[in-house]
Symmetry: C2
Subunit: 217 residues, 2 copies
Amino acid sequence: MTPTITAFARSPDRGRGLARDMRVRWALEEVGQPYDVRLVSFAEMKAPAHLARHPFGQIPTYEEGDLVLFESGAIVLHVAETRPGLLPDDAKARACAITWMFSALNTVEPPIIDREMAKLTERDKSWHTERLPILEDRVRVRLGELSGRLGNADWLDAAFSAGDLLMVSVLRRLGGSSLLEEFPNLRAYVARGEARPAYQRAFNDQLAVFTASQPGA
Amino acid sequence: MTPTITAFARSPDRGRGLARDMRVRWALEEVGQPYDVRLVSFAEMKAPAHLARHPFGQIPTYEEGDLVLFESGAIVLHVAETRPGLLPDDAKARACAITWMFSALNTVEPPIIDREMAKLTERDKSWHTERLPILEDRVRVRLGELSGRLGNADWLDAAFSAGDLLMVSVLRRLGGSSLLEEFPNLRAYVARGEARPAYQRAFNDQLAVFTASQPGA
């Protein structure tokens, strides 16, 4: 059965692959699972039909028969647990890869989002110039720790996993800032993720939605 | 084999059960798994021996033979997947319960932490009184959505799961604020979690660490 995911009808990131459907698309491409996409408008996201699937009125959702999931992390884990390719076979190695998934979403992403939110919503506030460096330092601490652990390795554990998929996705939110440039091994790690054929297919598919939604495109 | 977790030698929350070892203790109590605790000081958390276990220098960690995990969400999931009691047997119901785990940590907790951080670190800033209500509104939006989904049910899905364990843990961070009081069903939901015998055992054990570390106690 072909799963259906939801994505923004009009991508607020202009197709740069930062919307969270990208993480699910990438996971599905990695395991070779075809999928359908249903585009939803911002109004539809907050309407009862979508809220029944996603109580927080966001994207992505994942439907496969009568199974309905939300939260990109949970969906990526479900895809990884039901198809080979994103988690090691060995139980201990699996638990370690899953640890990196939680790490990406619960330890590394929050300070990155805080910085992003400040840049989006506090630019005109009197405190913005004083507060932004504090937020950047919080991101820098996490990047330093992650950089220290990654060292010269290609991936966080032996082979590419769902943990790397989420970590690369989270770090990509720093694109265009100099923060990632301060850690060359992390920059190379992100580039390594982006070079994967599955990533590229997923990226092009989400970009096509944005391109198609542009007047005159 | 008895697992060993790490916890703060001196709990910064004064034993109110907000440190993240509480989530792991609670999970272990729910499944009836005895465990050992190794207390670490703030200096030890940032030393090489601990960083080898936890790259971000935090607690809790989880050691079981040569398996070493970090991130409370990942540890709770590991406990839930290796012992009966915290996840449904049915595969689809399991995926739904795991979705609530990610939801708690990636959608509900971040705005709660942002509010907490502002109260801890920005009290003396000129912008604090203007910014705090904005943060509280962000929390309120998530609580409203969660409250709408929970309705009159006891738990987020049919039976108590690791998803409820993490959601209750996250909501408890609002204790002492009026935000939770605005949603009587969420307040009752948290109280229902706190009334579980496993919760109480875990709470008392982490409180005992704080009490023991107090001079003259």
